[in-house]
């Protein structure tokens, strides 16, 4: 896991009210285990995971497989950590916006988190996946699935109902977010490659890489 044999480093961040299951969700995704105890997160934390991302061709055939190293930021939902956690929003390229299906208040606060996200993320329209967690607690459910989908459609983001306890849709939701990010990256590279081709293949690339390298150093 600690070796550098991967193609891309992608940083994701989970945000939402306290107690919705952010830490448990990420633990299920990285270690495929479930911890029923609730231990409130102190400020900020992150986990890492190595995954293989398969590109899909235009005709649906399987393409090149990229090795992706994921850094998964886990933020504290408590109000007193708000200023600390929002500072890390800028360090993520994709976001898992989570609420608790058994808590109507956490669903209502999704709008507040969206505005925080638009204000503190790297751009105003980052890649986001809306996640309704604790889907396995059917008897305690308070949020209607229809309401959640309408909200997700309003923001133009995918919606998944997941369960950290059972692992339902955990992999699928993260993969969906990763796919959105990778496509965005590919498109950005395609746009930037046009002037390189005009200037010349080898010299253009060498010149193009140096400023990129300098910018990474910041």
């Amino acid at each position: 896991m600690t070796d550098g044999d991967y193609d891309y480093l992608i940083k994701l961040l989970a945000l939402g009210d306290s107690g919705v299951g952010k830490t448990t969700f990420l633990y299920r995704y990285t270690d495929n285990k479930f911890n029923p105890k609730f231990i409130t997160t102190v400020g900020i934390d992150f986990r890492e995971k190595r995954v293989v991302y398969d590109t899909q061709g235009a005709d649906g055939s399987s393409g090149k497989a990229f090795k992706v190293h994921l850094q998964l930021w886990d933020t504290a939902g408590q109000e007193r950590f708000r200023s600390l956690t929002t500072a890390f929003f800028r360090d993520a390229m994709g976001f898992l916006l989570m609420f608790d299906l058994t808590s109507q208040q956490s669903f209502l606060n999704v709008r507040n988190w969206m505005s925080q996200l638009q204000a503190n993320a790297y751009c105003e329209n980052p890649d986001i996946v809306l996640i309704g967690n604790k889907a396995d607690l059917l008897d305690q459910r308070e949020v209607n699935e229809r309401q959640a989908r309408e909200l997700a459609e309003k923001y133009g983001i995918p919606y998944f109902e997941t369960s950290a306890a059972t692992g339902q849709n955990v992999e699928k939701s993260v993969e969906t977010l990763l796919d959105l990010i990778m496509k965005r990256m590919e498109k950005c590279v395609e746009k930037t490659q046009v002037p390189d081709t005009v200037n010349g293949v080898n010299s253009g690339k060498v010149d193009g890489e140096k400023p990129a390298e300098k910018k990474c150093a910041c």
Binding site: L9, T192, K215, A217
Partner: protein, 589 residues
């Protein structure tokens, strides 16, 4: 957005936890940066290898551009890269993620590097925020740790110090960048200062020229219009010509000093230094030229009167063997020299005439009190007063003529300090012969004094005419050179570099001429004490006439005859023959 993080609500344990998390993030960032650097190195290797192969297009059709293995139809088929267009084997290619086609390994690596560097993402972050989140939190935690009252664990403090040092290093790096920027600005400012100095130099010169012209009295308007023509052009164009002609004169007059002007040329730095020093000397010497200009105005009023006196006295004489031999040597010298060197010689002759005129002006003013103290009859007193008035007008006339000569000298500013030095030397020489002559004056009669004054007036008039002819000749030569300016100007720049050595030959010239006068004079000194100055003046007059065969020189010869005739009734026969011999030889060529 820009407000600082409020971490006061965090407990020490919580702050410690956050610190540890941020450190892990920094480690991950560092590894990512090292990985990207490694990728970049690989790509450079591949690109340099490909450059070698790009020369052999035919080879690429049969062998892989990357591994140089031949293509095999079914096992290792050939594929063309969409990026670079080269052919590679199956094992060295990758499917293009977006398009239907292939990418060779180097191009694939380049693509991965470009995507992985997250240029698109960091551009957004940089545009929106000053620093990334971990860095911001670190700053807040450092502030908290420094100002916090709680006691920290030893490990935490150690870690804090290391992180703080890293952050300070970053700040120092930024400070260095800022200092570099300030240095660049300073360099730009210094460059602009140089431009400003050049502009100031250019603006000063036209003003000084204008002042010089405005100081000319109305009496010299006709001559002013002629002499003003050279200055109608730009000042910058005049200087190169002046320096060029001066340099040519130095190289032409003295064969031995020729090496000096060329020696500094090989080194560029010396040439650059010399380019500045001549300009400085020009500035300092420009002021001195204003003085003789003012004095020269009055002399122009008298030439018509003295021309009448000269015309009435024409006479032939027999040539002598010594003059013939001297003139032959002078012919040999003048033939190989170029026009430019001739112009420089004439300029030096004009300078000597200026020195003579300035010295001639001084003796009449000194004699005025002596005349007043001497008793005489009423008619004799009236005659003396008329002569004194003529001498006074003669003094003003010599001043005007020297002003005309000063104007063409303006392009040759480097020559001016020599004139001042010559004036000092001549004054010293004039004073020393007078001291033995003073006791002889009371014994002379009034008629003898009048004849001496008339002789001096005639000599001054002839000098004025010679100076005027020299000025007109030089002006015509300068105009001809300007007409052929295309051929003259390109060689002007190298001459500038040898500006300093030009003065050395002139100093040598002064030393050569001063000791010549004593050996030639012992015979005359034994006969007539006051005659020592006259032969010197005659010899110096003789040298400019031998330089050319123009109408001006012919006029000078007639002037010489006039002055010789004036002296004939007063001098002895032996002296008269010696003086008459020289102009006769000048007439022959």
């Amino acid at each position: 957005m820009g407000r600082k993080l409020d971490l006061s609500k965090l407990t020490d344990e919580e702050a410690e936890h956050v610190w540890a998390v941020v450190q892990r993030d920094f480690d991950l960032r560092r590894r990512e940066e090292e990985r990207l650097q490694g990728l970049k190195g690989k790509i450079q290797k591949e690109s340099s290898k490909r450059e070698l192969l790009s020369d052999t297009a035919h080879l690429n059709e049969t062998h892989c551009a990357r591994c140089l293995q031949p293509y095999r139809l079914l096992v290792n088929s050939r594929r063309q890269c969409l990026e670079c267009g080269l052919f590679v084997c199956k094992s060295c290619s990758h499917v293009h993620p977006e398009e239907q086609g292939w990418l060779c390994d180097p191009c694939h690596l380049a693509r991965v590097l470009k995507i992985g560097s997250l240029e698109w993402y960091y551009q957004h972050v940089r545009a929106r925020f000053k620093r990334f989140g971990s860095a911001k939190v670190i700053r807040s935690l450092c502030g908290r740790l420094q100002g916090g009252g709680g006691s920290e664990p030893s490990l935490e403090e150690g870690n804090g110090d290391s992180e703080q040092t890293d952050e300070d290093g970053e700040l120092d790096t930024k400070a260095k960048d800022q200092s570099l920027n300030s240095k660049k600005k300073k360099r730009l400012l210094s460059f602009r200062d140089v431009d400003f100095e050049e502009d100031s130099d250019h603006s000063i010169q036209p003003c000084s020229h204008t002042l010089g012209l405005s100081s000319v009295p109305e009496s010299a308007q006709s001559l002013q219009s002629l002499s003003g023509e050279p200055y109608s052009e730009d000042t910058t164009s005049l200087e190169p010509e002046g320096m060029e002609e001066t340099g040519a004169g130095a190289s032409g007059c003295y064969p031995s000093p020729e090496e000096q002007p060329y020696s500094p040329l090989p080194s560029g730095e010396d040439a650059h230094t010399e380019l500045h020093s001549p300009a400085t000397s020009c500035k300092s010497t420009f002021g001195t030229t204003a003085m003789p200009g003012i004095d020269d105005n009055k002399g122009k009023q008298l030439p018509s009167q003295y021309l009448a006196d000269v015309d009435t006295s024409d006479e032939d004489s027999i040539p002598g063997p010594r003059a013939a031999s001297q003139h032959t040597k002078r012919r040999a010298r003048t033939v190989p020299e170029t026009q430019i060197s001739e112009l420089n010689k004439r300029m030096s002759a004009v300078e000597h005439l200026l020195v003579h005129l300035e010295n001639v002006v001084l003796p009449p003013s000194d004699q005025e009190p002596a005349v007043e103290t001497h008793p005489s009859a009423d008619t004799e007193e009236e005659t003396l007063r008329r002569r004194l008035e003529e001498l006074t007008s003669n003094v003003s006339g010599s001043e005007i003529s020297s002003e005309d000569e000063t104007k063409p000298d303006a392009p040759f500013r480097g020559v001016s300090p020599k004139v001042c030095t010559d004036t000092g030397h001549m004054e010293a020489q004039e004073r020393s012969p007078r001291s033995p002559g003073n006791p002889a004056q009371p014994t002379k009669s009034t008629d003898e004094e009048l004849s001496e004054m008339e002789d001096r007036v005639a000599m001054t008039a002839s000098e004025v005419q010679q100076a005027e002819s020299e000025v007109s000749d030089i002006e015509s030569r300068i105009a001809a050179l300007r007409a052929a300016g295309l051929t003259v100007k390109p060689s002007g720049k190298p001459r500038r570099r040898s500006g300093i050595p030009i003065f050395l030959p002139r100093i040598t010239e002064k030393l050569d001429r001063i000791p010549k006068t004593p050996p030639a004079d012992p015979e005359n000194q034994a006969k007539v004490p006051k005659a020592t100055a006259v032969p010197c003046l005659m010899r110096r007059k003789y040298s400019p006439s031998s330089q050319g065969i123009d109408g001006g020189s012919f006029d000078r010869k007639s002037v010489y005859r006039g002055s010789l005739t004036q002296r004939n009734p007063n001098g002895r026969k032996g002296t008269a023959r010696h003086i008459f011999a020289k102009p006769v030889m000048a007439q022959q060529p």
